[in-house]
């Protein structure tokens, strides 16, 4: 009898490590494979990443790293269709955590974590430059008597493109008479990049020290530019006081509109389509609020793409993919700008820095010259000025 050539040996020790790292998230999976079939990577690649296989690996504690472990953008499409409600993201991040321990992570990612460790941001920029996005504006240091803390985030603080989003948001807050401040140079990295790359221990440290900082600063309502920061504060941070209320800015703008503090009186004749960021829509069920902000602008026409709301197509920047290279031809955002252009909209509106970066990058490549990418805050600011 010939020896089986591709059998694998299961080791209890490995199984225990994997089970611990993934928190047993994979256990409920009955291997139906819906996740693999629906993974949007199938739209841009010949085949999807085999999520079913990754989950099976986590169930059995198989050694080695599954193909595609680092390709996942944590867009949550698979989980939204999973009949057994498996926390697939948790399983994937758990396996990434083990990869860190084995020092088998893609090139460049250790540098990213060191950047965050030394400089407090994911772009390796000096912490002293963090407040420079607002150098022409009189933005004060947050005090507990302020209505909100504006949490700017790494992207809006350092990326010149996303700084414009923060500028628009500040103009809206000022127009509504909101009292607000920022933490300036003290503002920390929220931890999203670290978490989505699976470095669980480090993100736990970040969360602990940040939560203490926010508590000591007297933070109550906290408004973020990025849905990723929002997701961290809303779902991963301890709610250190009953008053702690993290909000993505789209939610806060809607509050200001509903409270009649922010009003768009002039017409803005613009045909737009709205791209739902995964971290708002699928992850946090926030689909209506950004649309309601858009609909409150007179003259603005909102048309929908086929894949919208809970069925949105990821821009490709989540799950730490912003810091990894995605090969040409495999970028979701290339498809997305085509879908946006097909609606006949002049502008694709979104409200996530990663989405803006990816969509604009694809737009310059694909060259849909009539279409522009704008942030929700920029559109609202334009409506205020028009």
């Amino acid at each position: 009898m010939s020896q089986p050539t591709d059998s694998v040996l299961l080791k209890d020790e490995t199984w225990e490590r994997v089970d611990k790292a993934t928190g047993g998230a994979a256990a409920p999976c009955f291997q139906c494979g819906v996740c693999t079939a629906i993974c949007p990577l199938g739209l841009v690649k010949g085949e999807t990443i085999s999520i079913r296989k990754i989950v099976r690996q986590a169930q059995l504690g198989l050694p080695g790293w599954a193909d595609g472990l680092w390709e996942c953008t944590t867009c949550l499409w698979c989980e939204s269709r999973c009949p057994h409600e498996v926390d697939i993201t948790k399983a994937i991040l758990g396996l990434r955590q083990l990869a860190w321990k084995e020092r088998e992570v893609p090139e460049g990612l250790p540098t990213l974590l060191w950047d965050i460790y030394f400089d407090g941001n994911s772009w390796g920029r000096p912490p002293s430059e963090r407040p420079l996005w607002a150098k022409d504006k009189a933005i004060k240091e947050f005090s507990p008597s302020d209505e909100i803390l504006l949490y700017v985030g790494d992207d809006a603080a350092y990326d010149r493109r996303i700084q414009k989003v923060a500028h628009a948001l500040v103009a809206l807050l000022e127009a509504a008479g909101v009292t607000f401040g920022t933490l300036g140079e003290r503002e920390p990295h929220c931890g999203d990049a670290v978490r989505s790359l699976g470095h669980e221990e480090y993100v736990a440290e970040i969360i602990e020290s940040n939560a203490q900082l926010f508590q000591e600063a007297g933070v109550k309502t906290m408004v973020t530019v990025s849905p990723h920061c929002y997701d961290m504060f809303a779902n991963r941070y301890p709610h250190f006081s009953d008053d702690f209320r993290p909000l993505h800015y789209s939610l806060y703008l809607l509050e200001l509109i509903n409270g009649e503090r922010l009003k768009f009186e002039k017409e803005l004749p613009l045909k737009v389509t709205y791209h739902d960021p995964c971290y708002l829509s699928r992850r946090n069920g926030i689909c209506d609020e950004p649309r309601q902000v858009l609909e409150s602008i007179p003259g603005l026409q909102l048309v929908e793409m086929e894949r919208s709301r809970d069925d949105t197509l990821c821009c490709g920047g989540g799950g730490g993919r912003m810091w990894m290279e995605t090969a040409a031809g495999e970028r979701f955002s290339d498809l997305r700008v085509k879908e946006a252009a097909e609606t006949g909209a002049e502008v694709v509106v979104t409200c996530c820095p990663h989405c803006i970066t990816c969509l604009e990058d694809s737009l310059s490549q694909v060259g849909k010259s009539k279409l522009r990418v704008m942030d929700l805050a920029e559109v609202a600011h334009l409506a205020l000025q028009s």
Partner: protein, 340 residues
């Protein structure tokens, strides 16, 4: 800590490993001779080159012209091609006889390989991949500058107790000195004991790869969408400036350039002395990979291109108008002092 095989008191001279391949000296070896000469002069100690190979003694004069006071030549037919075993054995013996205070090697693939072995055999420390060298003011100890944590920090490392104080240095950090052909030095031939059994590796084929490492380049000429796939001028300028060609993401996407030349967040973070950035608009994800350059010259046809916010020198024009006269000017300047 492990005791080194000889002490600081017996140690003398700065040694430089003269790496040769097929009878040609690596330019980093001459760069290091030049730097060693500068450091040694201040201390009043000699610079010794160590040359290993087969029938290579004719290269000794090149090292002397660059600043070596003495060259020790170890020749043997089995040293014709680099092998870790053979070179480690012969070089270790050479070092134990000469007892250098400082030993410098180029951070080339073979130099790195050899340095690690030697350091362990000599029970001493090795500061790998230095980007600068100096001697400490009072003690005269060697201080190597290295980048740590993926380029995030600069660290200064010394080896106070053990000898030799070893360092590998990236090629291109120091300039190759002008050869002083009249310079005199001693050439000492040392006997070599080496048998075939000492070498466990058999070299089947010797090939030089075309790999690039833009993170080490002192000069980068970078091009993006604006070059339209035509790299002729960019290549020429990079060649003249002894630099490398870097690219933004578009040329990689378009298949004009390979990924190992990509600058940026998902490419490589570089820190050249000079970056000439042509036809690249300068999205944030690109500029994070080049902003540590000491000087950035940006050439772009679009006056609103964000790259101009980062650049030290801004030229608003088509790169195809700017580069030809620049290339001519560099050629002229190079021609003027006899070229290199």
């Amino acid at each position: 800590m492990t005791k080194s095989l000889y002490g600081a008191k017996e140690a003398k001279a700065i040694w430089v490993y003269l790496e040769q391949d097929e009878g040609r000296l690596e330019s980093v070896s001459l760069e290091l001779i030049g730097k060693a000469h500068e450091l040694a002069e201040a201390q009043g100690i000699p610079v010794v080159g160590a040359l290993l190979g087969d029938q290579v003694s004719s290269l000794a004069q090149e090292a002397i012209a660059a600043g070596a006071d003495e060259v020790r030549v170890a020749e043997h037919p089995l040293l014709r091609q680099y092998t870790t075993d053979g070179y480690s054995k012969v070089f270790t013996e050479l070092i134990l006889k000469g007892k250098p205070d400082i030993l410098l090697l180029g951070a080339t693939p073979n130099g790195r390989d050899l340095a690690g072995r030697i350091a362990v055999r000599l029970r001493t420390g090795l500061t790998a991949d230095c980007t600068d060298l100096k001697l400490e003011d009072k003690t005269g100890l060697l201080i190597g500058e290295v980048t740590g944590f993926g380029g995030g920090i600069l660290a200064y490392i010394k080896c106070p107790d053990n000898r030799p104080q070893m360092a590998t240095v990236r090629p291109g950090v120091f300039a190759v000195p002008e050869p002083e052909t009249s310079r005199k030095g001693k050439v000492v031939s040392v006997p070599v004991e080496l048998a075939e059994e000492d070498i466990k590796v058999q070299v089947l084929e010797h090939a030089v790869g075309g790999g690039v490492d833009i993170t080490r380049a002192q000069v980068l000429v970078a091009a993006g969408r604006g070059c339209g796939g035509d790299f002729s001028l960019v290549n020429e300028l990079a060649g003249l400036l002894e630099g490398e060609v870097g690219v933004s993401r578009v040329p990689v996407d378009e298949g004009w350039a390979s990924r190992d030349r990509m600058i940026g967040q998902t490419g490589y973070v570089t820190r050249p002395k000079l970056a000439i950035v042509c036809g690249i608009s300068g999205a944030f994800q690109f500029t994070v990979g080049v902003e540590k350059a000491e000087a950035i010259v940006a050439v772009n046809i679009d006056p609103d291109a964000p790259i101009f916010e980062q650049a030290d020198y801004c030229i608003v024009d088509d790169m195809f108008n700017v580069l030809p006269p620049l290339i001519e000017a560099v050629k002229k300047a190079r021609g003027g002092n006899g070229g290199r």
